[in-house]
């Protein structure tokens, strides 16, 4: 089974500056592989190169170097396009078509007969929550409604791989929840979902794997559980029967960043990452305290993201 997406050294330079043209690295040697059936989060701050990557995968722009394959075929192959769906960033369609007509038009491009086009259009518009407005011309649609139509059109051919560029952008809380559920339904159906986002809670809720792009380069990539598991930020030690002397003594053994009373005689001690929780715990129990729990405090995806971006400063001009 070929990988859903295989990206190999993909690079895109833009020439910027009219008087003194110089290359600008929008994307710099990206290598990435996504297996079939994965929900893959493509994360990165503004201007990281996420949209550039997706446009390269759709062959809307051509790479300066490197190559990319979808389902084992080079991007741009028409047979591959039959099996994929794409939601562009800020989707926009034809002013004078209605949502229904747009979807029927797109379904027709996959060779479906008129009755089937109508059936697909109405099913997908139901799925993304466009009601009676489907008979309105698209120029009268709000941003969030266009976003929903954009998601519907990406699914018009029951794709095996979908590419969503910021699927949650412009959606209200209900819309976000609906789209999260939609993505999970796609996953359950065996569809590979590759989406870009800066909403990390979405990535945390949906993705099996993520990549973090920063300044056009890959900063980190892996299973969400692994990326975050190895970055323990500290420990939370909860004890009861804690006497002041015991606390004083323990402070001499290890670093205790803070003590929070929890009520019912319990206290939460905040231990930094490089302190030794075992020794503090041994000392406290020797002085009569009872252990309630000891938990590692993991970095959230947000903290991890901020750290990765900070550790990979953008150096994008070739003249630097």
């Amino acid at each position: 089974m070929p990988a859903a997406i295989r990206i190999d050294g993909l690079t895109k330079h833009y020439t910027v500056g009219f008087w003194k043209p110089r290359p600008y690295l929008a994307l710099d040697g990206l290598t990435l592989e996504v297996e079939q059936g994965e929900v893959f989060g493509f994360l990165g701050p503004n201007g990281a190169g996420k949209t550039t990557t997706l446009k390269l995968l759709m062959q809307l722009i051509f790479p300066t170097a490197g190559r990319a394959e979808i389902l084992g075929r080079p991007v741009g192959d028409v047979d591959v396009r039959r099996r994929i769906g794409y939601l562009p960033e800020h989707p926009y369609f034809y002013d004078y078509l209605t949502a229904e007509e747009l979807l029927q038009y797109f379904a027709g491009l996959f060779g479906h007969a008129p009755a089937e086009r109508r059936a697909r259009a109405s099913r997908l518009l139901d799925e993304v929550g466009i009601g009676a407005e489907r008979r309105l011309q698209l120029r009268k649609f709000s941003k969030g409604m266009l976003q929903r139509v954009g998601i519907a059109q990406a699914l018009v051919n029951d794709p095996d791989v979908v590419f969503f560029d910021e699927p949650m952008s412009g959606l209200d809380p209900i819309g976000r929840r609906d789209i999260r559920q939609l993505i999970l339904r796609l996953r359950d159906r065996g569809c590979t979902v590759f989406f870009s986002s800066h909403v990390l809670s979405d990535a945390e809720a949906l993705c099996s794997r993520v990549a973090i792009l920063s300044g056009g380069r890959l900063a980190a990539e892996g299973q969400l559980s692994e990326l975050l598991a190895f970055s323990v930020r500290g420990w939370e030690l909860v004890v009861s029967d804690l006497r002041d002397e015991a606390l004083e003594h323990a402070r001499r053994v290890g670093v205790i960043a803070g003590v929070t009373p929890l009520g019912q005689g319990r206290f939460a001690l905040d231990l930094p990452r490089d302190s030794s929780p075992e020794r503090v715990l041994a000392d406290l129990t020797a002085h009569g305290a009872q252990l309630v729990s000891l938990n590692p405090l993991r970095e959230t995806l947000e903290e991890y993201f901020v750290r990765q971006v900070a550790e990979h400063p953008a150096t994008r001009g070739l003249d630097q």
Binding site: L60, I61, V78, D79, R81, I84, P88, H90, L97, Y105
Partner: protein
């Protein structure tokens, strides 16, 4: 190439332009102009039907030209600028199918418009003839509803399709404003092209004359499509001439479309 894709893209262009009010304005204007020409004919002594024929054919050509240029230059540019092309090209639509579909869609729009305007034109002429006495009718160089005018209409249509292709070509890489300028410039020069060829006989500058001759052969010769004067004055236009000119237009058009496809195939969409 998949003809079904080309047809579907063409269908969407046709539908969009039919819904665009600009088009109705143009058709309304054409009908109005025919009506004005009719009034003008009323005012002139002798009720000469030639004026009406002349104005009517000119109106069909001019309004067709406006549609071809002003819709043609926006067709591709607008899709790229508004990014509607992003979702379309992620479907199984190849770039050349997109260009051909756009061309066929606008071509169809034009043909339908020319047909509507021609029907209106013949109706006015027919009504005019019906009101006149047989003696007046006998004095005309050609009957009012002379079928020979269809030859002029056919050549106008071929010309308009060629202009559409040129407008489309420019719109694959430049803004509508520049595309209009370049298309109109090309049309004006192409309409004066016999003057270009004969420049050598008028001025004594061999280099300029040679350049003008070169341009004459490279640029489309739009004056070849203009048989209005002959048709209006009842001078016969040979079927061979019409056929040859049509073939010339078609070949030129194919080259222009091929160039548009070549430019469009490798470009980045920002």
């Amino acid at each position: 190439m998949n003809p079904s894709i080309v047809l579907q893209v063409a269908g969407s262009v046709f539908r969009e332009s039919v819904r665009d009010r600009v088009l109705y304005n143009l058709v309304a204007f054409a009908v109005l102009l025919i009506a004005v020409s009719f009034l003008l004919g009323q005012l002139t002594a002798g009720q000469d039907v030639k004026i009406i024929k002349d104005l009517g054919l000119a109106a069909i050509g001019t309004f067709g030209l406006l549609i071809a240029v002003f819709i043609g230059v926006g067709l591709v540019w607008k899709e790229v600028e508004k990014r509607s092309i992003y979702s379309l090209l992620s479907k199984p639509v190849r770039r050349h199918e997109f260009i051909l579909g756009k061309f066929c869609g606008l071509g169809l729009t034009l043909v339908v418009n020319v047909a509507v305007m021609s029907v209106a034109f013949y109706l006015v002429l027919g009504w005019l003839a019906w009101r006149e006495t047989p003696e007046v009718r006998a004095s005309w160089a050609a009957p009012a509803t002379d079928p020979a005018m269809l030859k002029a209409v056919l050549l106008i249509t071929v010309e308009l399709l060629l202009v559409t292709a040129i407008a489309l070509f420019f719109s694959t890489f430049s803004s509508p404003f520049l595309s209009v300028l370049m298309t109109v410039a090309l049309w004006v020069i192409g309409s004066l092209s016999t003057d270009l060829r004969d420049l050598g006989t008028v001025v004594d500058a061999p280099v300029a004359a040679g350049l003008a001759r070169g341009l004459y052969y490279i640029l489309p010769n739009f004056s070849a499509f203009d048989v209005k004067a002959e048709v209006v004055h009842g001078v016969p236009v040979g079927a061979g001439y019409v056929a040859l000119t049509t073939v010339y237009g078609a070949v030129y058009l194919a080259f222009v479309l091929a160039a548009a496809v070549a430019v469009f195939a490798r470009r980045d969409f920002k």
